[in-house]
């Protein structure tokens, strides 16, 4: 028994060290850095200051936060609207076909996101494939200016994040007891009411987890706005990066990162609550 308990403590110690070193310590350092003062040559000076936190409420930053949240929120809603019907269709297929359909969704998702974003440029640019097709069929006369607009960024986010929405949705819709839907129809509910009163509440956990998986990355993916949106809009991700690499204001970058983490924690909490609540509802 002695040998085995040594193994146990070695494993526990190793794993805890790992988590501490790469999980806790960097986060604490970030937190610490956010309350220090920037220094022109040493990057940071060890002087306590809440200056960076005060700056969070400057109008320019508030606008940036709102714009980033709106952008990520819109991308999430887009993914939900495109992904839900798709996940539903796949979930109602025969299991074997569903697996293949999902594999086909996953394949592009396994390709590097930046390579795919770059591939999207070949589709969206003024002389790209989309405009060529639309002009060829006479739908439009002059090419649409899609590149370097918010629309291109939304298309990019939708393109990149759609599988993150489809997979959790599929998982919950697949578990749905279809007898409930039949019962609802038998009792005279319309399709819409059945959807709203039965399908939607029962698949709510999937909607929430899908939305989180889309929303959180969308806030930080600075390269998609960079490549597709041009340099016009400053978003959270781009701002954090620039604070560290361009402006060299580490405390400010740390503060915005902390704010982003806080938003994540709030969302995780809401998620936890909503899953628990819907779990109780489903068990009634």
């Amino acid at each position: 028994m002695k040998g085995s308990s040594i193994t146990k403590y070695v494993i526990i110690g190793g794993v805890l060290c790992w988590i501490a070193l790469f999980g806790a310590v960097p986060t604490l350092m970030l937190l610490g850095m956010s309350v220090l003062t920037p220094h022109p040559s040493d990057l940071i000076a060890p002087v306590f200051s809440l200056h960076s936190y005060a700056r969070l409420f400057a109008p320019a930053l508030v606008t940036m936060f709102v714009e980033s949240l709106l952008m990520a929120g819109t991308a999430t809603v887009l993914c939900l609207f495109v992904g839900y019907p798709f996940a539903y269709i796949v979930a109602r297929m025969k299991k074997r076909h569903a697996k293949t359909m999902l594999l086909l969704v996953m394949i592009p998702f396994w390709t590097n996101t930046l390579i795919r974003t770059y591939a999207l440029v070949t589709v969206l640019k003024a002389d790209g494939i989309l405009n060529s097709v639309l002009i060829y069929f006479g739908i439009i006369k002059t090419p649409l200016e899609l590149m370097y607009t918010p629309i291109a960024v939304f298309i990019g986010l939708l393109y990149t994040l759609l599988p993150f929405m489809i997979l959790p949705l599929y998982a919950t819709i697949e578990k749905l007891d279809y007898r409930l839907l039949e019962a609802s129809r038998d009792l005279g509910a319309t399709r819409w009411i059945t959807f709203r009163k039965i399908t939607l509440p029962l698949t709510f956990p999937g909607i929430i987890s899908g939305s989180m998986l889309v929303f959180l990355p969308a806030l930080g993916m600075f390269y998609i706005p960079d490549v597709l949106g041009g340099a016009r809009s400053m978003l959270l991700g781009n701002y954090i990066r620039d604070q560290f690499l361009v402006a060299r204001d580490f405390p400010m970058g740390a503060t915005v990162s902390i704010a982003l983490t806080m938003m994540m924690c709030v969302m995780l909490f809401v998620y936890y609550r909503s899953v628990r609540r819907s779990g109780r509802k489903a068990s009634l």
């Binding site: 040998g3 085995s4 308990s5 146990k8 494993i11 526990i12 794993v15 805890l16 790992w18 988590i19 790469f22 999980g23 806790a24 960097p26 986060t27 350092m29 970030l30 019907p85 798709f86 269709i89 796949v90 359909m101 594999l103 086909l104 969704v105 996953m106 394949i107 592009p108 396994w110 390709t111 590097n112 996101t113 930046l114 390579i115 770059y118 591939a119 999207l120 070949t122 589709v123 494939i129 393109y159 759609l162 959180l216 990355p217 930080g220 600075f222 390269y223 960079d226 490549v227 991700g237 954090i240 990066r241 560290f244 580490f250 740390a254 990162s257 982003l260 983490t261 994540m264 924690c265």
Partner: protein
């Protein structure tokens, strides 16, 4: 929804997902340098790629880091899952919570906080720091995948082994690891693709001595990309698809 609408809808979604990749693939064979109109079939971009040493280097770096970090992440992740499943100790819940938080943390926060750590430790950014970054990114996902497999185990098998006198190490080696095999493999693949896919963590944790493909492409996009990047992207896509489809089969057969 009737069958027709369903077919059209899913067809459109697939079209959206694949059109950019197919377009890029087609352009990689286009003789025209400015890739606008079709000027005939050519393999010259693939030929040019073979002479572009720095681009090939970046691609090799990406593959290397993906293999190494997936392997390391698998080792640590499996141990973590084993620990969470097998032992009760002070701080177990906290460990659970930290893994969950690490999994959900935005990539940019992971990248930034690791950059701060590496700078504070005085490390030179390069292969080592990039590796640590990718391992940090992937390990929680491996731990979660393997842990959920452990939970589905029949615990009595482990108990029986212990009753029969097996040591912890023997339990780990002869029972737990073989049973966890498919989940560990799935975790490895997940890590491999996450590492190949990552842009943000790499952006902050690697240095000029160790450039990976996505970052190389990122810096090229601003300067105007050349068609050999199309060719390289096509090759990279083929590598990932082959790896994934092969292993998908492997997992399916095993489970």
């Amino acid at each position: 929804m009737n069958r027709f609408v369903k077919a059209v809808y899913s067809g459109l979604v697939y079209c959206f997902l694949y059109l950019p990749l197919v377009t890029m693939g087609v352009y990689s064979f286009n003789a025209s340098k400015y890739s606008l109109s079709w000027k005939g079939f050519t393999l010259k971009w693939y030929g040019k790629l073979l002479t572009n040493a720095s681009l090939l280097d970046a691609a090799m770096h990406s593959l290397t880091i993906a293999v190494v970090s997936a392997t390391v992440a698998c080792a640590i992740g499996t141990l973590t899952a084993f620990l969470l499943h097998q032992y009760r100790f002070v701080g177990r819940k906290a460990l659970f919570a930290s893994i969950f938080v690490m999994m959900m943390s935005p990539d940019i926060v992971i990248g930034i906080s690791l950059l701060v750590l590496f700078l504070a430790a005085g490390l030179t950014l390069g292969f080592g720091t990039l590796l640590m970054g990718h391992v940090t990114l992937c390990t929680p996902f491996v731990a979660a995948t393997v842990y959920s497999r452990f939970r589905d185990f029949d615990a009595s098998v482990v108990e029986a082994a212990k009753d029969l006198g097996a040591s912890e190490r023997q339990v780990l080696r002869y029972i737990v690891l073989p049973m966890a095999g498919p989940a560990v493999l799935a975790g490895w693949l997940l890590s491999f693709t996450m590492s190949l896919d990552d842009v943000i963590v790499s952006f902050f944790t690697t240095g000029p001595t160790y450039e990976v493909l996505p970052l190389r492409i990122y810096s090229m996009v601003r300067l105007g990309i050349k068609p050999d990047v199309n060719a390289l992207s096509v090759l990279m896509i083929l590598v990932t698809i082959t790896a994934v489809v092969l292993s998908w089969r492997l997992i399916k057969e095993k489970t």
